[in-house]
């Protein structure tokens, strides 16, 4: 399995993604500078977390228009797996690979802590190695993770089983305290219609080893490895 991590000026979780991917998949991971449109053939493209272009204009807006993202969009349309984590999720909404938008956290505060997520679907390469309904602990670190979309889109996300993760309490219950950012319907991550594009605010790449404090992020990369070999 071969992966590429797109690097923008201001990306800061790109190396975490590379280390996690190398650790779990054992495959080659290319760090691909955003200005280089010649993206090699890969099985997985990661749009990493960080503050691309200093979050100027809107989070992810500038990165979404960078040269390589046209190619990423094309690959995604062709069915290649694309994961956008944190700032990467914001970029994928700006480029309209995923619907909706990530707005400022409802309480206006930057939130940096471990949260619990319920895996809402195991029907994707990203979530296949989790159980539906499983509660996992994954860190979040963002200022703009408040997912907002219109009612029709929200209904479609639910009806088409495209909500990948929801914020829950440790025992799996939904409620105001479990949601760290005011996100609509407690949404932490979503899939596109073809289920080959995932966007999520929490950081699975930060928890892939006991030495990092946990391994709940690991099954995501194991699922991808099983899908792409």
């Amino acid at each position: 399995m071969k992966s590429a991590v797109i690097v923008f000026p201001g990306s800061n979780c790109d190396r975490d993604a590379k280390v996690a991917l190398e650790d779990v998949t054992g495959g080659e991971v290319i760090m691909h500078w955003h200005g280089d449109i010649e993206l090699p053939k890969v099985d997985l493209i990661v749009v990493p977390g960080g503050f691309s272009y200093g979050d100027y204009l809107r989070c992810g807006a500038m990165a979404a228009k960078s040269p390589v993202m046209r190619e990423v969009k094309k690959r995604a349309d062709d069915g290649i797996a694309v994961a956008g984590i944190c700032n990467g999720f914001q970029v994928l909404t700006e480029i309209e690979l995923l619907p909706g938008v990530l707005m400022r956290n409802a309480d206006l505060k930057f939130v940096c802590k471990d949260v619990h997520l319920s895996v809402e679907t195991a029907n994707s390469a990203f979530t296949a190695h989790y159980q539906k309904g499983q509660v996992i602990r994954i860190p979040v670190a963002h200022h703009d993770g408040n997912y907002v979309t219109d009612n029709d889109t929200l209904m479609a996300l639910n009806d088409q089983d495209r909500i990948a993760f929801r914020y829950v309490s440790e025992d799996g219950a939904r409620g105001n305290d479990a949601n760290p950012n005011g996100s609509m319907d407690d949404i932490a991550g979503i899939l596109n219609e073809k289920r080959n594009v995932l966007g999520m605010m929490p950081h699975p790449e930060r928890l892939v080893s006991p030495s990092l404090g946990g391994t709940d992020g690991r099954p995501m990369f194991e699922g991808l490895l099983a899908a792409f070999g």
């Binding site: 309480d107 907002v148 979309t149």
Partner: protein, 81 residues
């Protein structure tokens, strides 16, 4: 030729920053503030001299980069010198 763009959140889109400003103003004893909405103001200096063409150009910029039309509205003004 100068163009200005006002970017505002669409009606119904929660504006937590506007709410925080409203609360802060109330804390300063400004009374009767029913609502505060915060937006952006962008000023562009264009070499285009035809107002209609300039407007079309800025409209395109708004759609492609300057605004996210999922949550934002915009108004363009072309200022003739």
């Amino acid at each position: 030729m100068k163009a200005t763009v006002h970017v505002t959140l669409k009606n119904g889109v929660l504006d937590p920053q506007g709410k925080a400003v409203q609360n802060a103003l109330s804390g300063l004893n400004f009374s009767g503030i029913e609502d505060v909405r915060q937006g952006k103001f962008i000023e562009l200096e264009l070499s285009e001299t035809d107002p209609e063409k300039a407007h079309a150009q800025v409209e395109d910029m708004c759609k492609k980069l300057l605004t996210n039309t999922v949550i934002e509205n915009y108004t363009i003004e072309i200022i003739k010198e």
